[in-house]
């Protein structure tokens, strides 16, 4: 009897019936966090009440390291920021130094850079396609995405000797001219990419379960996106037409015929679709650039020792993930920068995560994180 009474008294504090929020630690070692990212989720059943993102597990101090490196050496640091879009990173940096020094880049080098960067954009979006399928539980997309990405990597290897971390763009041009047979190889690649794109569309874009999982998930008001500084496909999916290639054109983008696709709803499905349509657009851009690829030198007239004059420049470009900016301060007469500030698109896009995830299901958290398509190398730098 004594035990019975004791049990009755403790019913209200019985841990089996007491309702409580569950705090769950997702990451840094978790298959769906795309690297070493950590979210502390507060759950009410399957609903997410709150989320606290923790970053910094991959911090290498790139900005500080850059202050101790020669201007030519810093390209390697940029390779390692967004490590699936190396050319795009290198390009923004070398453009910053070229602007500071007033170097003229020969047209052939400009075309080579553009072709490689757009191919890299396709490769990056294909990686997104594959891993996004995995985030939602489908296995086929990753095979399709990686197969086509591998073909692009093969071209990169032929040009630069490396599959990633190319270190191929130089201040004033590119390291060396393209290998023989580059143009036909890329044309064949584009045909393969087009057929692969159709395959990808049939696998995921028109899959009913995929639509149900992504439509209406993770949308927040466009004004909030702007306040957070979100850029790239995530912003364009919400209907805001901001693409650095259009808004602040650089290189030869103004002379090419392409468009920056935008969505309407800003949900995960629109983000996915914007990236898929960008693959189409990038294929068209590469096609045009190949047609008009001029002959000539691939390096401009650059002094042997790079010493930009005193002053600061800000240069930005459209990366696969958004607006990558480089703010370069030179004290004049030194071979290293005084300060190098990087504005990373993944970092800024990630800031909006908490707003998007709150109130959603646990399963939506990975879908939303996947739709932001972050690369931790660039978030943590």
């Amino acid at each position: 009897m004594a035990t019975d009474a004791g049990m009755t008294a403790s019913v209200s504090r019985d841990p089996m019936t007491e309702q409580a929020e569950l705090r769950i630690n997702m990451g840094p070692q978790h298959p769906a966090t795309h690297g070493v990212f950590r979210m502390v989720l507060t759950l009410d059943g399957e609903r997410i009440v709150d989320v606290t993102p923790h970053i910094g597990y991959l911090h290498r101090g790139s900005e500080r390291l850059a202050e101790g490196e020669n201007f030519q050496q810093i390209t390697t640091l940029f390779d390692r920021l967004d490590y699936v879009a190396n050319f795009n990173n290198e390009w923004v940096y070398v453009r910053a130094v070229e602007k500071a020094m007033g170097v003229e880049v020969p047209p052939r080098a400009e075309h080579i850079r553009l072709i490689l960067s757009e191919l890299n954009r396709i490769a990056s979006h294909l990686l997104f396609y594959g891993t996004y399928g995995l985030d939602i539980g489908a296995m086929n997309p990753v095979m399709i995405g990686f197969r086509d990405r591998e073909r692009i990597q093969h071209i990169f290897e032929g040009v630069t000797g490396a599959r990633m971390m190319h270190n191929y763009f130089r201040i004033g041009g590119v390291k060396e001219d393209l290998p023989d047979g580059f143009t036909p190889a890329v044309r064949a690649l584009l045909d393969q990419l087009r057929s692969g794109y159709e395959e990808a569309r049939a696998t995921l874009t028109e899959s009913e379960i995929f639509i149900e999982r992504t439509a209406g998930v993770g949308a927040i008001p466009p004004d909030d996106l702007l306040d957070y500084g979100v850029t790239g496909p995530v912003l364009r999916a919400a209907g805001i037409d901001y693409d650095v290639r259009k808004a602040d054109p650089y290189s030869i983008y103004e002379e090419l015929d392409f468009r920056a696709p935008t969505g309407q709803h800003g949900d995960c499905y629109d983000r996915y679709m914007v990236r898929m349509l960008e693959i189409e657009q990038s294929i068209a851009i590469v096609d045009q650039a190949l047609t008009r690829l001029p002959d000539g030198p691939v390096m401009g007239r650059v002094p042997r020792i790079i010493r930009p004059p005193q002053g600061d420049v800000y240069v930005h470009g459209e990366n696969p993930r958004g607006d990558l900016g480089v703010y370069l301060v030179s004290s004049g007469g030194t071979v290293t920068p005084y300060r190098l500030k990087i504005r990373g698109p993944s970092f800024c896009n990630l800031m909006a995560l908490a707003d998007m995830v709150r109130g959603m299901y646990l399963a939506d958290a990975t879908v939303i994180l996947g739709s932001l398509d972050i690369i931790l190398g660039e978030v943590d730098r």
Binding site: E206, E208, L362, A363
Partner: protein, 374 residues
């Protein structure tokens, strides 16, 4: 019970145990090969011809691995849970008939036995998730319990309809062997396609296969209830999952595909297990095929599908079958009329519901096609 009986039992258990293990190794290998072919890969190819020994090698590796037990688990339940998941599957294989002569135990209520034992495995999952003292494991086991409760109903209703239907042709309608014999002419797949579809969906959900693998969901809760298990204990979970798949395919073949019936199977009984294996393999390959391209559902969508569609549809199926069978047995024109009216109404209801669902689905798909038509 004499010593001979004990020895017989021991031999039977030994043979059955190893038989199931061999089947599971085969199923795992088949899945890896089939998935690889569907994804333009080769799959295992180094261990033995076509990599057929790869799964055996993996099992040996798992057995040699250190058995890690986190300090905070409830030791007794943690060790008990794999056994509790493992045992029901073997209990099921006791009553599964391999041919008209090769049946270990032909229960008169085999169908009810199967349904009852199927529900048992969730106990092991819940215990494993709770004993692990891990939040991911807890979430996984809670999801597993919710999913099993929801999908048990359409599954059981579909199975019940099979029992009812078998009454027309056999006097042992709830024995698995009786059901197979009742399907001598036409397999029930052709008579009740809706029942087969519901059974398949329920089986997918119960074995937690894609698109219903929410209890495991590696990308969300990193494997669910077995997060904390390692070595051969984890191997037992893995093995049980595939044994469950094989069992479900076995049941589908028996209940809906006519079991061991096939051309000349009566005149030449050794053909019977062959037909059965062919039918089981077909179902298993169908499940692999479903797995390759499909994403995973979310838990609320899964529940909505079960309660809004699968359970009402299974009830309609059951009512139609029951009415027709009742009318056929009484052979009374009033009952035929009543049965006819109910059947027509039920079928009409099912068709209208299906039509509405299909139209909504089309509208939604079109909406998304138009969103990006520009």
């Amino acid at each position: 019970m004499t010593l001979l009986d004990l020895i017989t039992i021991a031999v039977i258990v030994f043979v059955l145990f190893n038989g199931v293990l061999t089947v599971v190794l085969g199923v795992i290998w088949a899945e890896r090969k089939a998935l690889a072919r569907l994804q333009q890969r080769v799959g295992p190819s180094r261990t033995g011809p076509s990599g057929i020994l790869q799964t055996a090698a993996d099992a040996v590796k798992l057995m040699l691995k250190e058995d890690v037990r986190p300090g905070s688990v409830n030791r007794l339940i943690f060790y008990l849970a794999p056994l509790l998941i493992f045992t029901p599957i073997f209990m099921l294989w006791m009553v599964l008939p391999f041919s008209s002569g090769l049946i270990l135990s032909d229960l008169d209520i085999g169908l009810f036995y199967v349904v009852a034992i199927l529900g048992l495995s969730v106990v092991g999952h819940v215990l494993a998730g709770w004993a692990s003292n891990n939040k991911y494991a807890l979430l996984g086991s809670a999801r597993n319990a919710a999913q099993l409760i929801s999908y048990e109903l359409p599954l059981v209703f579909a199975v019940l309809a099979v029992g009812l239907l078998a009454q027309t042709a056999t006097d042992r309608p709830f024995s698995l062997a009786g059901i197979v014999e009742a399907q001598g002419g036409v397999p029930y797949l052709l008579i009740m396609p809706l029942g087969f579809a519901l059974f398949l969906v329920g089986a997918l959900a119960e074995t937690a296969r894609i698109p219903f693998d929410i209890p495991h969901a590696e990308e969300e809760i990193v494997g669910g209830a077995f997060v904390e298990y390692s070595g051969i204990r984890w191997g037992v979970f893995f093995l049980t999952e595939y044994a469950g798949l094989a069992t479900m395919a076995f049941l589908a073949a028996i209940l809906f595909l006519g079991g061991w019936n096939g051309p000349f199977s009566d005149q030449f009984p050794p053909l019977q297990p062959l037909y059965l294996i062919l039918k089981i393999s077909a179902i298993i390959l169908l499940v692999f095929w479903i797995r390759a391209p499909l994403p995973r559902l979310r838990i609320d969508q899964l529940m909505a599908f079960a309660w809004k569609l699968a359970i009402p549809a299974s009830l309609v199926n059951l009512v139609v079958v029951a009415t027709v069978v009742y009318a056929q047995q009484r052979n009374d024109w009033e009952l035929w009329l009543a049965g006819g009216i109910i059947s027509v109404v039920s079928i009409a209801l099912a068709v209208v519901t299906g039509f509405i669902i299909q139209r909504r689905r089309e509208q939604r798909l079109n909406q998304f096609r138009q969103r990006w038509a520009q």
